[in-house]
């Protein structure tokens, strides 16, 4: 009898195993790895990546890319800071900042779907435009003065023992797991990524679905952005460099194939943890952050290779 494991489940188990191995290695080689403080730290870092990564997972499952999330994070962060600085109640500032992300997503949606520009170039373009606008409106300076005290509530406060960013992350994960498994959006994303012809022939409006996905990614990138600004306590135009990269690595490590058709939010969660744990562990070992950049690059290439080898192996069974 052939044991037919869903390809994705197997992959998730594998990366979970890798995560555990890495964590064990670090807990032996450093002193503080498994301390509560450290783990919370890791969790907080992961939350920013996962909040955006969950949405990007769905987008990449449909076989589309978004390289602009990093600049959206910066843009929404500084706008929420500027609004709060200008007297807008913090809650609304955060809301509007997130909404800016939605706007960027809408622009991406139009570029890719209506104007039919390939996602790589379109989102590369919005990335630079977004970054540029961020620098323009802040005059390249950090927005520090006049921010209300409660500006840091999203990023630094806790609900009981749990930091708010983690809570937000958990909520977002739950939302996207539901979306992924129980809604038309999730199913259609898989269909469009797996066999677009079959999807269209079945009557699915692929264009609308993809546009919606881009807007959702923008929205949640905006959310990550305001969370990040709140944690830093300032509106910083220099954040987010390399963020899109962290997100993509997390998504791919989590089992989402570049070719689309499969992926999972939980996998992205594990993938994000792997990246964060490696970064954290290296930090604790006093390794320069620049080395982490190198490691991340290597991890990305390995992730893609591993993903492909795994799938070939499964297909052969």
């Amino acid at each position: 009898m052939q044991i037919k494991i869903k390809t994705l489940t197997l992959q998730k188990l594998v990366i979970l195993g890798i995560l555990i191995c890495i964590a064990i290695v670090f807990s032996f080689s450093t002193r503080n790895f498994f301390s509560q403080k450290n783990l919370l730290n890791v969790g907080k870092q992961v939350s920013f990546v996962v909040v955006t990564g969950a949405a990007v997972t769905l987008l990449m499952v449909s076989r589309h890319l978004d390289l602009s999330v990093g600049s959206t994070v910066a843009l929404s962060g500084v706008i929420s800071a500027m609004l709060a600085q200008g007297g807008v109640p913090t809650g609304y500032a955060f809301l509007l900042g997130t909404f800016i992300g939605l706007l960027v997503g809408a622009i991406n949606a139009v570029l890719v779907v209506k104007l039919k520009i390939t996602p790589l170039i379109a989102t590369l373009g919005t990335m630079y435009m977004g970054r540029g606008i961020t620098f323009i409106i802040t005059d390249a300076k950090t927005i520090r003065e006049g921010l209300p005290d409660n500006f840091t509530m999203l990023g630094r406060e806790t609900l009981g023992p749990v930091p708010i960013p983690l809570i937000i992350m958990i909520i977002v994960i739950i939302i996207f797991i539901i979306l992924e498994r129980k809604t038309l959006l999730g199913k259609y994303s898989i269909a469009i990524g797996g066999n677009r012809t079959a999807a269209v022939l079945s009557g699915i409006n692929a264009d609308s679905v993809v546009m919606l996905l881009y807007m959702i990614v923008g929205l949640f990138a905006g959310l990550s952005g305001v969370m990040q600004a709140s944690r830093l306590g300032v509106g910083e135009p220099n954040v987010g460099f390399g963020f899109e990269f962290d997100v993509i690595i997390a998504v791919i490590l989590g089992g989402t194939s570049l070719a689309g058709g499969e992926g999972s939010v939980l996998g992205t969660l594990i993938g994000a943890f792997i990246v964060a744990v490696i970064g954290n562990g290296l930090n604790l070992l006093n390794v320069l952050s620049f080395y982490q950049s190198v490691v991340k690059g290597i991890v990305l290439v390995f992730a893609v290779l591993l993903d492909r080898k795994l799938k070939e192996w499964i297909k052969r069974r």
Binding site: I117, I121, M127, I136, I248, L258, V294, G297, L300, V301
Partner: protein
């Protein structure tokens, strides 16, 4: 005169026309435009884009992309500063730096052709590796940047002039001519077009696709390494933060010049005009006291518009 040649000619004419119009408009808008000093400025800004762009044009004609050139620029620049400070005389350091860029290109080429990873992902990974290495080397020297202890002749490459013309501009012109030659007259250039135009036909026609792609990536690496040495030489110190957005400038120039994202068509000459257009627009905005950051927005817009126009031309003639 055939239709295809007609269309490429039209495209080249159009962009040259656009360039001229921009220059005319700018010279009307501001008196500072038509000065020698200003032109010198533009050319200096644009020369590095053209240098890397020569090899990137061929690479993009073959249907591939290299997102790592900005980071490799930084890395090789810092390495040049480091090597000429600690190990080698300047000239030798330049030589090794260029080779180092070539090694990066080699790795990119191998990952893309042998490991069969798309060039987007592969060079995205290389981008982060190179950037990280740039910072590491700078740190290894002691500070954030390598500013002191550089040899006396370090700045020669970047600042010397031959009569009225900067030395590196002459070098760039020479290399651009070489690559125009490669693109139009060599087998390698032909292979780039066929691989980009129809990869399956290329394989069935016996083209050594892997070897060609690796060669093209190596060329990009070599020229990027050269850019790195020139830039740090001009600045006078090894700064790991340079080159941010460089790959974007190059891609915009290449696409504006008529190279399709999917490959199969384009030209080095077009890239030159494209680089000049972007350069003059940026320059004009500068002269008109438009903030530098608007330029980034502008560049994004230009890229999108360029692609749309390209498609419009194809549909009109197709």
């Amino acid at each position: 005169m055939t239709i295809r040649r007609f269309r490429i000619d039209v495209q080249k004419l159009v962009i040259v026309g656009v360039l001229i119009i921009i220059m005319v408009v700018l010279s009307i808008l501001t008196p500072k435009f038509l000065t020698y000093l200003n032109f010198n400025n533009v050319v200096m800004q644009v020369s590095l884009v053209m240098l890397a762009g020569s090899a990137v044009s061929l690479l993009m004609i073959s249907g591939n992309i290299d997102l790592s050139i900005g980071s490799v620029l930084a890395f090789t620049g810092v390495m040049h500063a480091y090597m000429s400070k600690h190990w080698f005389p300047t000239g030798l350091s330049i030589f090794f730096t260029i080779l180092l860029g070539g090694v990066f290109g080699l790795v990119n080429g191998l990952v893309v052709s042998k490991l069969k990873i798309t060039s987007v992902i592969a060079t995205l990974g290389a981008m982060y590796i190179a950037r990280g290495l740039a910072f590491i080397i700078a740190r290894a020297d002691g500070g954030a940047n390598i500013t002191s202890g550089l040899p006396g002749n370090f700045e020669v490459l970047g600042r010397a002039t031959v009569g009225p013309i900067p030395l590196h501009v002459l070098i760039v012109i020479a290399i651009v001519i070489v690559f125009i030659f490669i693109q139009t007259k060599t087998n390698l250039g032909r292979y780039a077009y066929v691989i980009g135009g129809n990869r399956v036909s290329a394989i069935l026609s016996g083209v050594r696709v892997d070897a060609v792609l690796i060669t093209l990536f190596v060329f990009v690496g070599l020229l990027t390494g050269f850019c790195g040495t020139i830039l740090v030489s001009r600045i006078g110190s090894g700064v790991p933060r340079i080159g941010l957005g460089f790959e974007f400038d190059v891609i915009v120039a290449v696409v504006l010049g008529g190279t399709s994202i999917y490959g199969g068509e384009g030209s080095v000459f077009g890239m030159v005009i494209g680089a000049l257009i972007v350069g003059f627009v940026a320059n004009g905005l500068n002269l008109l006291d438009v903030q530098a950051f608007y330029q980034v927005v502008f560049k994004g817009l230009i890229l999108v518009v360029a692609i749309l126009i390209d498609r419009l031309i194809k549909e009109k003639l197709g």
